[in-house]
C-alpha cells in the first residue's frame, strides 16, 4: 500500500474516527466504501432510533438480533479497519494462497464488487429492519389510508389493506434472504458431500446417488415444489427452506462429482493414500477443499435462483401465509391494482430483480476470479 496518508500513526487515528476512509483513500473503494457507509449509517441508526435500540434487548428475538447487528456492525467495522491499517506489512509477508489470488482478481471486477456491496447492504437492512422500519408491516391503517401513492409519510405508498409498502418490503427482505441463505446452505452441504462421495468412491454409491440426481432433475422443479408444499397443511418458513434446499442440491452434486472424478486421478490424492490417510480424511480434508471454487459459484448463483423460486411460490399463494410479508406475495397482492396503484407490485418486484441480479453478478465475478484459466 502506498503511503499517501503519511505515517501509520495518522492513518490509525483516521481509522479510529472514520473506519473505511483510510482504505477508501488508498483506492480500495469496495471495502473502504462499504466500511465507511456501514459505520455512518449504523451510527445514524443508533442516534435516531436510540429508544428502539435500547428497548430491543428485552424485546422479541428479531429485535434482539437487530440491536445486536448494530453493535456488531459498529464494532466489527471499527475493529476491522484498525486491524487492517496496522497489519499491512505483516500481510505481505505471509504465503499467497489461491484464495488471496482469487480475492485480488475479484476486486478488479468492478461490477461484481458493486454486486457484493449491494448484497451486504440488503442483508444488513434485513437484519436491522425492526429498528428502522417506519411502520408495523402487518398493521392495517384506517380505510382512508388504502392505496395511498408514495409520499413523505409513506415512502413507497400503501397497499389495499393500507399497510406501508416500504416497511413490508424491508420485512419481506428478511424472508427472501433467509430462505435463500438457508436453502442454499442445505443444498450445498448435501450436494457437496454426496457429489464428492459419488465421485471419489465410485461403484454402487456413485450409481445410486447419480440415478437419484437424474430422477430429481427430470421433474419440472416448480411442479415438484407445488406437489410437496401441497402435502402440508401449514406453510412455515422452515418448510419452504427445507423444500427448496432438498430440491436444489442435485445440480451441486453433479458439478462436484465431475470435479472430483478428475481430482481423484491427480497425484496428490494418490500421495495422501500412500501416506496412510483414511478415505474419510482424504474426501473431507483434501478433495472437498479443492472443489470449493465451483461450489461457491453455484451457491451464489443458487441463492438468486432460490429467491426467485420462493417469490414464485408466494405469488402462487403456496408460500408463507399472510400477513407475513414476502416479496413474492406482495407482487401477487398488487397485481389487481397495477393500473391505479402500481407501487404495490413494482417496488417488491424491483427488490427481487436487484437482489437476484446482484447475486448473479457476484456469482459470475467469483467464477472468473476462481478459475485460473480465465485469470490474466
Amino acid at each position: 500500500m502506498t503511503d499517501r496518508l503519511g505515517p501509520r500513526r495518522s492513518r490509525l487515528a483516521l481509522s479510529a474516527l472514520l473506519p473505511g476512509l483510510p482504505q477508501l483513500v488508498v483506492g480500495r473503494w469496495g471495502v473502504g466504501g462499504l466500511g465507511l457507509t456501514v459505520w455512518v449509517a449504523f451510527l445514524a441508526v443508533l442516534l435516531t432510533r436510540w429508544a428502539r435500540f435500547a428497548a430491543g434487548w428485552g424485546g422479541p428475538l428479531d429485535h434482539q438480533i437487530a440491536s445486536l447487528t448494530v453493535v456488531a456492525g459498529l464494532l466489527g467495522t471499527w475493529g476491522w479497519s484498525m486491524f487492517d491499517v496496522s497489519r499491512q506489512a505483516e500481510l505481505e509477508r505471509s504465503g499467497i494462497s489461491q484464495w488471496k489470488l482469487a480475492a485480488e482478481a475479484f476486486k478488479k471486477n468492478r461490477i461484481a464488487v458493486i454486486g457484493a456491496v449491494v448484497i451486504v447492504w440488503v442483508y444488513l437492512i434485513a437484519l436491522v429492519t425492526p429498528l428502522i422500519a417506519p411502520y408495523d408491516p402487518a398493521m392495517q391503517g384506517p380505510l382512508m389510508g388504502r392505496l395511498v401513492a408514495p409520499s413523505g409519510e409513506f415512502l413507497l405508498g400503501t397497499d389495499h389493506l393500507s399497510r406501508d409498502v416500504f416497511s413490508r418490503m424491508m420485512y419481506g427482505a428478511r424472508i427472501s434472504l433467509s430462505i435463500g441463505f438457508v436453502a442454499v446452505g442445505i443444498s450445498v452441504t448435501i450436494g457437496t458431500l454426496l457429489g464428492a462421495m459419488a465421485g471419489y468412491l465410485g461403484g454402487w454409491i456413485d450409481a445410486v446417488v447419480m440415478r437419484f440426481v437424474d430422477m430429481v432433475i427430470s421433474f419440472p422443479r416448480l411442479v415438484l415444489l407445488i406437489a410437496i408444499v401441497a402435502l402440508f397443511d401449514t406453510q412455515s418458513i422452515f418448510l419452504i427452506m427445507a423444500v427448496l434446499g432438498f430440491t436444489q442440491w442435485p445440480g451441486t452434486a453433479r458439478i462436484v462429482r465431475g470435479e472430483v472424478l478428475s481430482l481423484r486421478e491427480q497425484e496428490f490424492v494418490e500421495a495422501t493414500r500412500a501416506l496412510g490417510f483414511s478415505r474419510r480424511r482424504i474426501i473431507l480434508r483434501h478433495v472437498i477443499p479443492n472443489v470449493l471454487a465451483p461450489v461457491i459459484v453455484t451457491a451464489t448463483l443458487g441463492i438468486g435462483n432460490v429467491i426467485v423460486l420462493e417469490a414464485g411460490l408466494s405469488f402462487l399463494g403456496l408460500g408463507l401465509q399472510p400477513p407475513t410479508p414476502s416479496w413474492g406475495s406482495m407482487v401477487a397482492d398488487g397485481r389487481d391494482f397495477l393500473l391505479n396503484a402500481w407501487w404495490i407490485s413494482t417496488f417488491p418486484g424491483l427488490a427481487i430483480v436487484l437482489t437476484v441480479v446482484a447475486f448473479n453478478l457476484v456469482g459470475d465475478g467469483l467464477r472468473d476470479a476462481l478459475d485460473p484459466r480465465l485469470r490474466a
Binding site: S97, G203, F268, F277, S278, P289
Partner: protein
Amino acid sequence: MPLLEVTDLRTYFTTDAGVARAVDGVSLQVGVGETLGIVGESGCGKTVTALSVLRLIPSPPGEIMAGSSIRFNDEELLEVEPARLREIRGNEISMIFQEPMTSLNPVFTVGYQIQEVLRLHRGLSKREARAAGVALLAEVGIPEPDQRFDAYPHQMSGGMLQRVMIAIALSCEPRLLIADEPTTALDVTIQAQILDLLVEMQRKHGMALLLITHDLGVIAEVCDRVVVMYGGQIVETGTTEEILTRPQHPYTQGLLASLPGIGDRDVRLNPIPGTVPSAVDWPDGCRFRDRCSFAWERCAESAPDLLPVDGRSSRSARCWLLDPDEAAGRGAHVTPGEPT
C-alpha cells in the same frame, strides 16, 4: 531375512479390450538399507509393481491375483487389515512420485501438509509438528525453512517441491522408501541434486530404497542391485555393475546399446526396434521375441524361467540363450539380425 519380499506378484487389470496382465509373476527382495533399482521402458509394469506393494492399485479395475505375496518385515501386506495398512503407509513404507508439481495439495501450505502427516502418524501437537516440520525442511536442504513452511506449492519450484515430498516421506522415519521416477520431471542439474539427497537421506536414516526409473544413468549412480523389467516380468537381475558391464538378456543389452554416448555425435542412436506389445495380449513364449535379434523357434514355443547366470541365484536372466542345453548347439540356432 529381507525387509521386503515380493513373491510371484500378479496384478491384472480388467479392461474393455480384455485382461491386462500388467505385472505377471514378479518376485524380488529388498534388504535392510539396500537400494534396489527397477528399470524398464514405459508400460513394463514397474510402477504397477511399486503401487501394488502399498496396495494402491485402484480396484476395480485392478486386482492383485491370488497366489501373490508381499511380505514386509515378516508381515503379509496382502492380508493385513485396512487400519494396519494405513499405519504402514507413510509410517513404515513411504512413497514419492514422479511429478512434484502435482503431488502436493494446491490449497494448503507445504507446512500444513508436513504437519498433517506428523500429527497423524506420530501424534505430535500442532506446535511440535511445526518445529519438526521446519527441521525436516532444513534437513532436505530448503533454504529459509521457517518462511518456506508457510508457502503454497505454486510458490515453489519443481526441485524444491520434490525436496518437500522427500521431507514428507521421511517424516515418520520409514524403513522403506519407494521412489517412482523421482527425477524424471526435473531439470538435469536438479536431478543430480535430488539423487544425492536421496542417497544421503537413505544412508543417514538407514532406509531401504526401491527406486523405479527408466534412466540407466540414475541406476548407475544410486543402486546396489538392479531388476530389469519387460512385459510385466523380470527379465534380468544382478548387481548394478554386473548389469551395466555384462548384460545377459538381449533386452538389457539393447537398453545399454541405445544410450547416447558423450561426444560421438556422428554415431546414430541405436534404439531397440519395435514397441512394447499390449499387456492385454502378450506374445506366446518369450515376450521380447518380436523385438529380439537372437530369437529362434524355441522362443516362440515357450518362455524360459529366470535362469541363473554363472550358476548363481542372485544373478539371473530370462532367456533361452542361458540354457545350458542350448549352449552346445547355440551357434546353429542363433541368426543375429533375422527375427523370426
